[in-house]
């Protein structure tokens, strides 16, 4: 079983940019992203999220998002998919960075989640 990271943002460029920060410290971790609506506007797209989820070569996904509506779409994508998705209410960039660093270092999920709890700053829709 392998863990990958999924980044979901309302803005295409943020979604594209975060993996670049992560890949530096986690070259061996599968990272995919979904940003913006299908029409390249600001928002999120269930379709894009689903594609990014399925395209991620890992068998289990740690997912990070920016705003509440991204979370709702992420949850729906998770429900429609057979891949287990762990959704974190952490700061998007900082949470994903920590998860990537620790996954690369071979840390196990419970310990990673303990670290992520310290970065939890959202949780409502």
């Amino acid at each position: 079983m392998s863990y990958g990271i999924l980044i979901v943002s309302h803005v295409e460029q943020i979604a594209q940019g975060v993996p670049k920060l992560l890949q530096q410290v986690a070259p061996d971790i599968a990272i995919t992203f979904a940003g913006g609506t299908d029409d390249h506007e600001i928002g999120t797209s269930l379709d894009k999220i689903t594609t990014a989820l399925e395209d991620n070569s890992a068998s289990e996904i740690l997912a990070f998002y920016d705003l509440g509506s991204a979370k709702m779409n992420l949850e729906m994508a998770g429900e429609f998919s057979t891949k287990p998705v762990h959704l974190y209410d952490t700061a998007l960039i900082e949470g994903a960075y920590v998860a990537a660093s620790l996954l690369q270092a071979g840390v196990d999920l419970p310990e990673i989640e303990k670290q992520l709890e310290l970065l939890q700053i959202k949780g409502d829709g």
Binding site: T44, S45, L46, G68, S69, M72, N73, M76, D124
Partner: protein
Amino acid sequence: MELTVETLTTWMNDFEAKIAAKKAYLSDLDTPIGDGDHGNNMARGMRAVTEALATKNPADLTTGLKLVAMSLISKVGGAAGPLYGTAFLEMAKKSNTTAELSELLEAAVLGIKQRGGAELGDKTMVDVWEVVVPEHAAGQLTSEKIAQAVEATKELVAKRGRASYLGERSVGHLDPGAVSSGYLFEALLETEGELK
């Protein structure tokens, strides 16, 4: 009332017309306490809904409700997409066992609340759904009651969605999702009225 795929279509066409007419107003409501796109989001979503219903011509209620749900989910783009989408998806699921509208709507409310985590009083669309649906079930829903539920969001402090970042500053503004939900139920009243 038992919902049919035909009534659903009438209802959705009516809702789409209201949304289209109030598109700018809904986005204006979303400007001081959000990102100013609720009207555009809903108009895009409902256009997709009515087009899908017209072109795909769903054979039964469940298929119709699913079509509505998927169109909203994939086209709205903002928070309203997964929320309205979940409402219709839950109605679709429920329609496998009953076509009774009040039961479908109850499933929808639960779905919205679960999806967004909002409760009554959080200044969201839930403030309309949760008040209106029992009135509808009791056969006592009126335009006035809908308007009251919508209007009641004005004095609330937002606890969910973008408006929640403004805290107290959200007071004095109607919640855009509550207003669009009001249109949905207005359209429903009209659809039911036509059937009488």
